[in-house]
Point group: C2
Amino acid sequence: MAATRPANPLALAVLVLLWERPMHPYEMSSTLRERRKEDSIKVNYGSLYSVVESLMKRGLIEATETVREGRRPERTVYAITETGGQVMVDWLVELLSTPKKEFTQFEAALSLAGALPPEQVIELLGQRLRNLRFQQKAAEAVFEEARSVGLPRLFMIETEFTVALQNAEIAFVEHLLHDLRDETLGGFGMWRRIHELRRDGVAPGEIEAKIAAEFPDELVFAQHDENH
Amino acid sequence: MAATRPANPLALAVLVLLWERPMHPYEMSSTLRERRKEDSIKVNYGSLYSVVESLMKRGLIEATETVREGRRPERTVYAITETGGQVMVDWLVELLSTPKKEFTQFEAALSLAGALPPEQVIELLGQRLRNLRFQQKAAEAVFEEARSVGLPRLFMIETEFTVALQNAEIAFVEHLLHDLRDETLGGFGMWRRIHELRRDGVAPGEIEAKIAAEFPDELVFAQHDENH
DNA sequence: AGTCGAATATTCGACATCGAGTATTCGCCG
DNA sequence: CGGCGAATACTCGATGTCGAATATTCGACT
């Protein structure tokens, strides 16, 4: 059978750390913290220990010794196995070369935003924009500081990436807000009307009928509705 | 106590659907499919049924009737409760107004890419770029088709959003690849040297020492290492 | 010598996730 | 009219997630 791997990217981080040198779990978490990898990989005690166990079961890492230093609790030191090294490489290859759809909460919220009235959505997106700009300022400051300390860019590409994505989000929200305020976005009138009717306590079925009558051109795509 | 909610955004989708009108779970999944929300919300049978149960336990939705149509298996129809309506609004408000850090696999991979030699990373990012461009073409075609069918833009904002993010990713990878090929990216020499030494079978501890000696200026930030 | 908080190091269990499996029925085609 | 594939509708359990709780030690300061 092919060597399987855990789903959690934290397991990849563990493999990479053990590829550098043997370590015990707590040291992994502090190393990741020191290198600021917490910002790009979700590290979490519970997950760390179960991910290590899961890597053990699959034979990708092995316990080499248990040390007792002073009277601290016992620490188990792990090392990567040969299979583990291969899995690490394969995993990195896949993640770097092959884009995979990932779902964000904001995307979900956008797709469900129709359940709030348009004016409120405009208001909320305005707030988001202010928050995003604030975060952006903060991120750039951190960035600048890291550079001034002499941290090579190589160690910050993942941060550059998230900054790039954030900028794209800012531009998107700005653009969307503009179109919403303009009321030029296709479907806007229908959206507002639905919420007016709901506010006035019109029943769901009746709303559907009214909307269909009032906005025939915006619903041409929905012919399948006639089946019911 | 404050009304809690499940963590899975699919639960929000369920609330929104039931806010529109009562439904049974399978109908939820097909409605989401029809509206192409699968692309922006991870829908998954297992999760759907457990999310519905979880919403029930919290009193955000309630079972109104169980219908048997023909000799199909029994279907339980659910409706949203008043509390559920409030939770839905609060949840949407939060997601729309407040950006929250989300971790992507690619970000994790970027931050761990140092475990592969630079030449390979360049090669892999080249592949990624080709894949991204291909996907982009496909997405734009879907988009164009939707518009030609008369689907109002309002129903596609979430798609516009992901397209914007994808474009940002393409630009980022292009830029990064350029800097890598140039070898202008700070830390590049060190990175290559580490992999040369590993390939030649030099021991981890020795590698660290050699690197520290050969690249003193790129490691000025790492003074904490002297503690060990 | 005492204590307080930060760091070290891990466990636990409630909860969530998800794909594969099961069972049924409808509709179409020959 | 019979059979087969697509659609309907849901269940199950192995696995994964994660924060809170636990327990200890170190160092700084009183």
